[in-house]
Amino acid sequence: MGGWDVLLSPVILFFVLGALAAFARSDLSIPESIAKGMSLYLMASIGLKGGVQVAAAGLSVEILLAAVAGLALSFLIPVPAFLLLRRAGRLDPINAAAVAAHYGSVSVVTFVTGVETLSAAGMPPAGYMVAVMALMETPAIIIGLLLARRTSGAALPTRGGLFHETVLNGSVVLLLGSFLIGFITGKEGFAPVAPVFDTAFRGVLCLFLLDMGLIAARRLQDARALTARTAALAVLLPICNGTIGVLTGALIGLDTGSAAALGILAGSASYIAVPAVIRLTLPQADPGLYLGMSLAVTFPFNITLGIPLYTMLAERIVGS
């Protein structure tokens, strides 16, 4: 299957169906608890499968390199993003910092969809990329808060602080936890649960992306906070970051699939873990803006155009 044929796979078509239904203002909707349940399932699945693969392939220096690269990307990407959002986007410091944190972090669903399409195209990324993704989820938040300089912390008491909200964030814990479980049990222990966590994966992803299409398109319609400038940046940022990600992957010697996956991670923007922490730590920032950009523009862009783009780039640079 070539790079763009993937747009005609059921997974992507269900996403498009959801978006079209929302644009046509159909009342189609998936209960929120079902959507939450499916997202937990997808995270547990991808974590388990990554762990099983690493258990089979064994630990290596490559893994360490990829982890360091992922961390570095998550720490560094917010800085140029912040400057771009301040200048080109004309955002105030608080909002620019909040948005920058989202683009430094990652979108699990974008990654999952990317892995599916890369695997279908015969270039499955290495199993450890799941762990890299989990590592990339939260560092960007810290940089974002530093960029915002003075947080609103004084106004409302927050106990426990950032550690709990970031490192112990539910999705990080589930991803790393399942990864570890997969690593411990290995292929043999995974076999009896494979019908649920492997065979059913793609079908559930279809239904989840149907919901994501609905949510993204509805948010785009309700998004008063988005201007032409910020919407354009929400397309420009993933392209730049994704390219940086692929280049970094090529530089540290990853295979084509893994380099593309690193590009997908760098190019994606968080809309689950980061918004919750930012709402808590930078409550003055506008959720309509950061969710509008990451969820309503960047996410659909990545699912439809970004993933094939980063894949093509990786094929050109690393070779296919």
Binding site: S33, A155, P157, T158, R279
Partner: protein
């Protein structure tokens, strides 16, 4: 007839990630008891929203507590300056309760 006394009923509409902070503010005002209620959606100056748990950052919860006028004032003073910046909505209404000592 059962004796009732008047108390204040405070409702704060708050984004899910900020609930813990409101709870802490109320504890600092000496309030021990509260109940959290779910919401489905709404609209305000910030536009329309409806609950999607996927990006839970904008799910809203109602923090409901019944307390004395004094503690109510403390909590209101505590929250008033940040209502705007944190997107909170706060309502106060009179309410009668049995078991005065409890509230």
């Amino acid at each position: 007839m059962t004796e009732t006394v008047e108390r204040r009923r405070i409702e704060v509409l708050v984004d899910a990630p900020l609930v813990k902070s409101v709870v802490r503010a109320s504890e600092e005002a000496g309030i021990r008891g509260y109940t959290l209620l779910p919401t489905l959606g709404g609209a305000g100056a910030g536009g329309r929203w409806s609950d999607d748990q996927v990006s839970g950052a904008q799910s809203k919860v109602i923090f409901l507590t019944v307390t004395t006028e004094a503690k109510c004032d403390v909590l209101t003073d505590r929250l008033a300056p940040i209502l705007e910046s944190h997107g909170l909505v706060l309502f106060i209404s009179p309410v009668d309760v049995v078991r005065a000592e409890k509230f």
